[in-house]
Amino acid sequence: MSTDPKTLPGADPHTGNREIDPVTGYDTTGHDWGGIKELNTPFPKVALVALVLTVIYSVIAWILLPAWPLGREYTRGILGLDQQEMAERRLRDLVALREDWLGRFENPDFTALSEDADLMAIAMPAADRLYQDNCSACHGRAGSGGPGYPVLHDTYWLWGGAPEDIAMTLQVGINAAHPDTRWAQMPAFDWMEDDELSKLSDYVAAMPSGEADPDSEASTLFAENCVACHSEGGAGGLMNGAPSLVDDAVIYGQDTESVMATLRNGRQGVMPYWSERVSDAEINALSLYVSRLPDDGAADGAETVQASDESPAEATQ
């Protein structure tokens, strides 16, 4: 390209001067695209400096860190960092930090544990987060359950509410894939005649209030079909997953329609097992946490229970 200014595009052929922009004082490049022109502004030094700085940053990063591929290998960087090792080390550090208090939960002497106020002050808030992350989706933020999911902050328990029982439920689940899982099934009584189902539903729905007629046909049906699991008079308490039918606690509802649906279709609710997801010590901490949820939950039916926004953490600390 010619360096003679007189031959450059847009230049005055006699003086070599090009159009000068009055605002900036720079000449134009001589290009014109449908009215758009460009200034021949010198390259701003700041842009070059910035480019050099970012390149220096990059070169330093390449020297320190793994950076460039070399066939099947790559430059390791003089810091010798490996992201998997770093992640594992940080995980191990956290595990070590938790070991101080969580380690004590490996021995499930729940009485001794709960009597140690200092331990509880650390462990129960942590257990609350474990509960919120793992349990609250079904059982509610405050353990208030919901349709199909048991209330945890009341005094009614199908498989026992002592920390040891809760720990077992967490370990093996209910109707879960664990080989030793707690197993319970409410079979479908769909073979019954419609009028029998209807009478039985009415009967069961009337049990909590004590208004079920003991001399009715339904009472006979109940005795023949239900007491094996639900115990004499529907009192429950056999630790077989079959609930008491005379108390206020419900999972699926005890109005006529809900009972009818249960009788027709059966129930087999699932509580997953957690032994592969959280450690034994964490299960024990969670069990203690759940057992210590304040037993103030009104067990007045899942239909009316709404998950509370309040975390029960403060109450259990």
């Binding site: 922009d21 009055p22 605002v23 900036t24 134009t28 490049t29 290009h31 014109d32 695209w33 449908g34 009215g35 758009i36 022109k37 460009e38 200034l39 502004t41 010198p42 390259f43 701003p44 842009a47 910035a50 480019l51 970012t54 940053y57 990059s58 990063a61 390449w62 860190l65 793994p66 950076a67 460039w68 591929p69 430059t75 960087g77 490996d82 992201q83 992640a87 550090d93 956290l94 595990v95 070590a96 930090l97 938790r98 101080d100 208090w101 969580l102 650390i122 462990a123 808030p125 942590a126 609350d128 987060r129 474990l130 509960y131 919120q132 992350d133 609250s136 933020r141 926004d309 975390s311």
Partner: protein, 546 residues
């Protein structure tokens, strides 16, 4: 003037043949698929093809043919159509966006049917605004800018229509496919294989008409805007083809398996995803900025040298940066380091572009103050600078460990798309619509001012609330107490988002209101079209008769 009147009878016949081909393709798709989204999409192509056959056939002998004098004029009819489609997609895509924002705050605010679930609506929003709104704006303005800066008419009259109509068919297939549950599960590349193949056809046609027109230019040099538009067209073709390589389950199923697997699939996806940001949402819009800003400000581009540095810096560095989407994943550390460092170096050419645009306004600041249209472009350049700084910053690995998976990313994206992309599009639209419909100004000049303030308020509220949201999430997720246990459960971090999600819905709503106002204003302007002709706005040399 009817669109058919701009076509010669040969061109009308070619159009009829292509439309018939589309109808036959649609029929074949529907026949092979029989049921499902692909059959419906075939039906849509069939109906569109038949409608176009009737439209062109009915007008075959109606209008006098354009004379050779048309070579002394630019061909703007496709651009007008593209702008109308841009506005339609703006309202639809942003409308769905506000709906989704409301769902984050109020999850029940959608009919309880699968079609309108969050997961299906989300790609309708992203594809609707990126491809529908942004894509139509890019294609429409690229044809306009290409002709002006080359001082020549488009190389032919049929292919621009094929590009625009074909592209919108792709967008429609995409959006309707999503609500029916069709997706190949690649972000921003959700449409299935047959739609992808169709887009390849459309895009190659786009490239050919662009390069043919550029080859006919009457100017010795190629203007910066065209470098960017060409980079946009070329690289998007490459990204689209490589990322969408897939094996259909059967020829009759709108389902496929990608040929990539594992971490390679992730890397290809984010090489695509980040360069979609680079070449779809940046390069093309920089082309728009480089044309409409100096024209509106009536100022020369501040520095030609800076333009060169920016262009080559952007096209070179961006290609390496995609792996910063995969920090702290199974992707090897060295790929992450490269992505991080190239993202940092990318800041310099990005800021050079933004700085060049802003410095171009020297001597025209009074116009920025008085003219809302130019102010849209100025704000676009500022947000371009802000969001590219933020992008480089977030790509630094330790910072990414805080921001990744949080709403900060979403805020960053919207700072780019609302503040930069949409603002420059609105600036271009307000420049183009009066001109292309033969008027001096928009029908309601005051509404442009209103739109500007709605847009800037909406963007700021949206972006600031999601900055807060994202940083809050990041801090809550990584906080451990002194006993080494997590300080917060996940649900607590969700609850902490509520005020920010409410604010982002408000911000998005304001932005949507502005876009709606723009659409109504444009419609009023189009209905009151005048006959003003800019005699200087013509190709330099008339083309010889064919």
């Amino acid at each position: 003037m009817a669109v058919t009147a701009t076509l010669t009878s040969t061109e009308r016949q070619i159009g009829i043949a292509i439309s018939a081909g589309l109808a036959i393709l649609g029929l074949a798709m529907a026949a092979v698929a029989k049921t499902g989204p692909m059959a419906l999409h075939g039906g849509m192509a069939l109906v569109l093809g038949i409608a176009l056959v009737f439209y062109l056939g009915g007008a075959l002998y109606d209008h006098p043919e354009p004379t050779n004098r048309r070579h002394a004029e630019y061909y703007d009819a496709p651009t007008r159509f593209g702008i109308v489609m841009t506005l339609i997609w703006a309202v639809a895509g942003m409308g769905v966006g506000v709906w989704l924002a409301a769902l984050m705050y109020w999850p029940e605010a959608t009919p309880a049917v699968p079609w309108t679930s969050y997961g299906r609506l989300r790609p309708v929003h992203t594809s609707g605004v990126i491809f529908g709104f942004g894509g139509n704006a890019l294609i429409a303005t690229s044809f306009y800018v290409l002709q002006r800066t080359s001082r020549t008419r488009l190389a032919d009259a049929v292919s621009p229509w094929f590009v625009l109509i074909g592209f919108n068919l792709f967008c429609l297939w995409a959006a309707t496919g999503y609500v029916m549950g069709q997706t190949q599960s690649k972000e921003y590349a959700e449409p299935e294989w047959y739609a992808d193949l169709w887009l390849v056809l459309v895009w190659v046609t786009y490239f050919v008409v662009y390069i043919r027109t550029l080859a006919r230019r009457a100017e010795p040099h190629i203007y910066v805007a065209n470098w960017y538009y060409m980079a946009f067209i070329l690289v998007v073709a490459m990204l689209h083809i490589v990322n969408n390589l897939a094996l259909p389950v059967t020829w009759g199923a709108g389902e496929s398996f990608t040929i990539w697997s594992g971490v390679q699939d992730a890397m290809i996806q984010w090489w695509y995803g980040h360069n979609a940001v680079a070449f779809f949402l940046t390069a093309g819009f920089l082309g728009m900025l480089y044309y409409f800003l100096p024209v509106r400000a009536q100022r020369p581009i501040w520095s030609y040298r800076l333009s060169i540095l920016s262009f080559w810096g952007i096209v070179f560095f961006y290609m390496w940066a995609g792996s910063h989407h995969l920090h702290y994943t199974a992707l090897p550390y060295w790929v992450q380091t490269l992505g991080m460092t190239f993202s940092v170096m990318l800041l310099v050419p990005s800021w050079a572009s933004a700085g060049n645009a802003i410095a171009t306004l020297n001597g025209a600041w009074d116009k920025v103050r008085d003219d809302a249209t130019l102010r849209f472009m100025f704000v676009a350049a500022v947000f371009y600078g802000l969001s590219t700084f933020e992008g480089s910053f977030l790509a630094i690995r330790p910072i990414n460990s805080l921001s990744h998976f949080t709403d900060w990313t979403v805020g960053h994206v919207h700072s780019g798309t609302l503040g930069w992309v949409a603002m420059i599009v609105f600036g271009a639209i307000y420049s183009l619509v009066p001109k292309l419909w033969g008027r001096d100004d928009m029908a309601w000049p005051k509404a442009v001012e209103w739109h500007f303030w709605l847009a800037i308020a909406g963007t700021l509220i949206y972006v600031v609330s999601l900055w807060n949201a994202g940083i809050t999430q990041g801090l809550m997720w990584r906080a451990y107490d002194e006993g080494g246990a997590l300080s917060y459960s996940f649900i607590e971090s969700v609850e902490a988002m509520l005020p920010y999600y409410a604010a982002r819905t408000l911000g998005g709503g304001l932005f949507l209101a502005g876009a709606f106002l723009c659409t109504v204003n444009c419609r009023a302007t189009m209905r009151a079209a005048g006959d003003r002709v800019d005699e200087a706005d013509r190709p330099l040399a008339t083309q010889p008769a064919e």
